[in-house]
């Protein structure tokens, strides 16, 4: 019963948000359009969080790390090498992927809540590095005055906030579409199987660490691309954009959206970020308090969103066998599963 209600609520909210996203630039002012563009970029990071947390079963608090890597790479390229959006996107995605690849040995062997811990440490360390590596990142002051992007060679630079918003929207839609298509192939099937029961997947001859590394790097590339969009939207970045509170907000958004659902993650993350921005606008000073209380309340209100499914793991195996990833088995919501099914 409750599940049915939640499913309906989710669907109508998702539809409303999607319609709103498309008509937004014509009905809001410049400032709001810029904020919305940033929200979209963060929602794309949310998609990468969902890919790891919900689909691959590796709950993460560290996706702001490749997001930051992508953003800074894009900012450096944008101000010194090329103002072409496609180039910046590729560079940013590459930077995110490289950072994710470098952290694979830290993340992939771990399971469950340990992944949360390690990814959180990585995220915080990246923010620390950003604050101290002044020669490249500008330290805590950040990088400002990044030239406006032109989407493709020969096209004019995007001069207005509306244009930049639409550019962001197109890129996000394209990347989300690509992720959805990918999940319909055998890649998505195997990832879901691994989340169900990793030991069983190994027993069938699948190279599980390879898939998990692949998912981690792919999620890093997506978050990196989102970083490039942040640069386009704000034309200014600083370490404050990538703090771990952002990671936690995105994770909450993904859980609200149904954890395993890419569309749900997009909408959930966008909603959570929008609420945060709105709160900081209307309640300067007390926003974190209200946000924290809302956070706790939301967690309480998500009984079915956080239901845990355990794969059968106890097959009287001796203690040397690594168990399946029960802790990683994330919230699973049947309402959103069919979207991913081929």
């Amino acid at each position: 019963m409750m599940d049915e209600v939640i499913r309906r609520v989710r669907r109508s909210v998702a539809a409303l948000v999607l319609v709103g996203l498309v008509v937004a630039p014509w009905v809001v002012d410049d400032y709001t359009a810029a904020i919305l563009a940033r929200t979209l970029a963060l929602a794309l990071v949310g998609v990468s969080v969902a890919l790891l947390t919900g689909v691959a079963g590796m709950p993460t608090l560290g996706q702001t790390a490749p997001y930051a890597a992508g953003a800074y790479a894009c900012a450096v390229v944008g101000s010194q090498i090329s103002d072409v959006g496609v180039v910046q996107l590729v560079v940013a995605a590459g930077a995110g992927a490289v950072l994710a690849a470098l952290t694979v040995p830290l993340v992939v062997p771990a399971r469950g809540v340990i992944v949360l811990m390690i990814t959180l440490a990585i995220c915080e360390l990246v923010v620390t590095v950003l604050g101290r590596w002044r020669s490249v990142t500008g330290g805590t002051d950040g990088l400002a005055g990044i030239a406006a992007v032109r989407p493709f060679w020969g096209l004019p630079a995007l001069a207005s906030d509306q244009a930049r918003y639409l550019y962001t929207l197109v890129v996000v839609a394209t990347l989300v579409g690509a992720v959805l298509l990918l999940l319909r192939t055998r890649v998505g099937l195997v990832l879901r199987a691994g989340r169900d029961d990793e030991t069983r997947l190994r027993a069938s001859g699948h190279r599980v660490p390879l898939y998990l590394s692949g998912a981690h790097i792919l999620a890093g590339a997506i978050a990196g691309a989102a970083g490039s969009l942040l640069v386009v939207a704000q034309q200014y970045i600083s370490p404050a954009d990538f703090g771990f509170d952002t990671s936690a907000l995105l994770l909450l958004g993904v859980v609200i959206g149904g954890t395993a659902s890419v569309g749900g993650a997009l909408v959930g993350a966008a909603l959570v970020i929008a609420v945060r921005d709105w709160l900081f606008g209307v309640l300067p000073g007390h926003a974190p308090l209200v946000l924290g209380v809302l956070f706790v309340a939301t967690v309480y209100l998500l009984p079915s969103g956080v239901k845990r499914v355990r794969g059968p793991r106890d097959r009287s195996q001796p203690p040397t066998v690594p168990p399946s990833r029960p802790d990683a088995t994330p919230a699973r919501d049947h309402a959103t599963v069919p979207e991913l099914r081929a």
Partner: protein, 298 residues
């Protein structure tokens, strides 16, 4: 003679950072012990752990007036307040106790957000000054260098706390239960003690440790807007580096982090931002297999 003098000179500038590293490392150890405890026994990733430390720090800043009595008072109040906050957190966790770790971690993050905001509202947005007891305010001479007396005393006190912690875990019945629970999380459930009480006890103890670290460490990692984040990060890195298996591992990891943050920065200022990363990568690579196994066992 000359060679010896030159050698001494080469080492000389690094004595003070190295000593600072020990103080820093012991502080991080006491703070991280609470997180390890909470995670190992109750299996909760407490993202509000840094906030518990900050409670101790703000208490110290508010109560210390340069006298010994105020230090004792601050320590008592700070420990009690942080322990009470831990119990409150345990109470908030009760409705989601049967949920997954993700939910619990998110909930503790919400509490950290709200708690940090309350602390800033209560004590002001500026980083407050901390006054150490007047008798410790000066400096003493260590190997020909002047060194803050408070830090030297802190090293001794923190070493005493660490030893006491070690003896408690090794020698007492409660400590035995803790070790057993870390080894086999399901065991506690079989003992017939209500999980809610275990959670409350564990979070209270973790809060007390963090609170004590916060009060005593206030002159080293002082209270401020970033304190909670800093302490949480350092504690997390300690857990990642040291694992959950042994106190010795935790202590070594904490001391290593202390030295990296002080001596490492003095030796390699340009590489400073990457040192913690490099340390994490190096340790994990060195014991990748063992660590992976021990993580899986948790």
């Amino acid at each position: 003679m000359i060679a010896v003098a030159a050698g001494a000179n080469r080492i000389d500038p690094y004595i003070i950072p190295a000593l600072d590293g020990v103080a820093y490392g012991l502080l991080v150890f006491v703070a991280a012990a609470g997180l390890v405890f909470c995670f190992g026994v109750a299996n909760i990733l407490n993202l509000a752990h840094g906030t518990l430390y900050a409670i101790g720090g703000y208490t110290a800043a508010a109560l210390l007036d340069g006298g010994w009595l105020s230090l004792a008072l601050a320590l008592a109040v700070g420990v009690l307040a942080a322990a009470a906050a831990g119990v409150l957190l345990a109470g908030l966790l009760t409705p989601v106790a049967t949920g997954n770790h993700l939910t619990q971690a998110l909930l503790t993050f919400g509490v950290a957000l709200a708690g940090g905001s309350l602390l800033v509202a209560g004590f002001g947005p500026d980083d407050p000054q901390v006054r150490v007891p007047a008798a410790l305010d000066g400096s003493v001479v260590v190997a020909g260098h002047r060194y803050a007396a408070y830090r030297l005393v802190f090293i001794v006190v923190a070493a005493v706390i660490a030893t006491a912690l070690y003896l408690t875990v090794r020698r007492t019945r409660a400590g035995m239960l803790v070790r057993a629970a870390v080894d086999d999380p399901e065991m506690v459930a079989c003992m017939g003690v209500s999980p809610g009480r275990i959670r409350a006890g564990v979070l209270a103890a973790a809060g007390a440790l963090a609170g004590a670290a916060g009060v005593l460490g206030a002159p080293i990692i002082g209270p401020g807007a970033d304190t909670a984040d800093t302490v949480l990060l350092l504690s997390l890195v300690v857990v990642v580096l040291g694992g959950l298996g042994s106190m010795a591992g935790t202590l070594l990891a904490a001391l290593a982090i202390g030295e990296i943050q002080t001596l490492g920065v003095a030796l390699l200022p340009s590489a400073a931002p990457f040192l913690l990363f490099a340390a994490m990568a190096a340790v994990l690579a060195a014991r990748a297999r063992g660590l992976a196994t021990s993580w899986r066992a948790t």
